[in-house]
Every structure is written in structure tokens, then in C-alpha cells.
Amino acid sequence: MGAHPQPAAGDAARDNAFRQELTRLIPQLRAFARTLCGDATAADDLAQDAMLKAWDARQSFQMGTNMKAWTFMILRNQFYSEKRRSWRQTQLDQEVAERTLVAVDDPEAPVALDELRQGLGMLPAEQREALILVGAGGFAYEEAAAICNCAVGTVKSRVSRARRALQGILETGDYDRDNASAGDAMATILAHAERLSSGK
């Protein structure tokens, strides 16, 4: 950035721009936190902490670079440093899953979402976060690698292993549910995808 005749005013303008951008990212941070924590309340605590951390560290952010990736990295570091919930604990029990789930129109959909969450919970931590970042968060492999502080090739292999493992879990019904029969979760997900692609 060029020299400002009035540094204080320049800082204020920069802070305002930063704050606006950070505000726009809150929904994304909440979503990422939810995938890490599982529990919605713990996730919002995490997202709030990450938001405030990002605000406090705003001087070290280069305006114009990818703030979403930067804040996701802060949130991820926060999560691991606090260890507020171990990855194993995020294998959700039914009750937590039901509280966490968002009601959707399709009566079948919550079931498959629940199973998808449980399936995700069974993946190794590093595979799950890689899959979430690339498959849902909209990050390129390079960005996900920066967020997870690892090599691009590592992210790629984690994502592909996560995809295969998740498919296997959903097809065999090998998640933590007593009454699930084999292949049900995958069948529900497939049916949902077909409705999406055929209908609206």
C-alpha cells in the first residue's frame, strides 16, 4: 500500500474494509467450525474466537490476498490448539446429530445428512478437513494445503482417500448406528442426487 498523508485515517479506512470483509466471512467460518466441532454451540464459540483472533491480527493480513483462506487457517489453528473436542468425540451420537441438523424440505434428507456427518466423523482428522475444504469450502488444492500447512500433493491424496473411505462407509452402513442396514445411506444420497439433477 502507498504512503498515506494521514496514517491514522488510513488505518481506520483499512480497518473498516477489513471489518466488512471479515463480517462477510462469518457464515463461512461458522460452517467450517460446525464441520470441525459437530456440536453447534461449541462451533459458534470456536467461530467467534477465530473471528476475534482474526480481528486482533488484522495488521498482519495483507489486504487483497485471500482472507477466507487466512481466516480458515486461524480457525483451524484455534481448534487444534484448544482441543476443545477431540476428533473421536465428533463421532456424533444420535442426540447431538439431531440438534445439529438443519431441517430441510425432504423428509428423507436429514437421515442421509446425519449419516454423512457420522461417516465424516469416522474419517481420520486430516482426511476429513481436506475433504471439507476442497469438497465443500470451495478451496483449490493449493489453498487447502496452505490452510493445513502441508504439501499440495498431500492434500490431493488425503482428499481422494477420504472420498473412497466415505463412499465405503456409506455403502456398507458401517457408521455408528444400530438400526442401519447396509447401503441405506448411499441409496438415500443417490436418490437425493437424482432428484436434484432431474427435478428443479
Binding site: D15, D44, W55, A112, L113, I132, R163, L190, H192
Partner: protein
Amino acid sequence: MKRPRNKAPNLDEARLRQQAIGVRLRQMFDEVVSEPVPDEFLALLHKADERRSGES
């Protein structure tokens, strides 16, 4: 029913299944994204911003 190309039906099916999981995964994420942001977030950020203004 005749399928024009069924040389590698397993591959096609695997791809379809992966796509279906991908759609679901994004939907799961997007559902949270589309939730209204709790007021607490904005209040906290506002408070932090005021602290900054008070300092300068």
C-alpha cells in the same frame, strides 16, 4: 433397456456416487452458511472495533 456405453459401468457408477456425496457435502456446508448469523458475532466484532477506536 440398452445402454450405449457400458464398457466400464463400475467406473461410471463410482463417479456418480462420488458426485452424489460431493453434492451432499456441499449442501451440508451451505446449509450452515445460509443460516442467519447470530447477533452475538456482530456484537462481539463491534465491541472489538470500539476498543480499537478508544485506543487511538
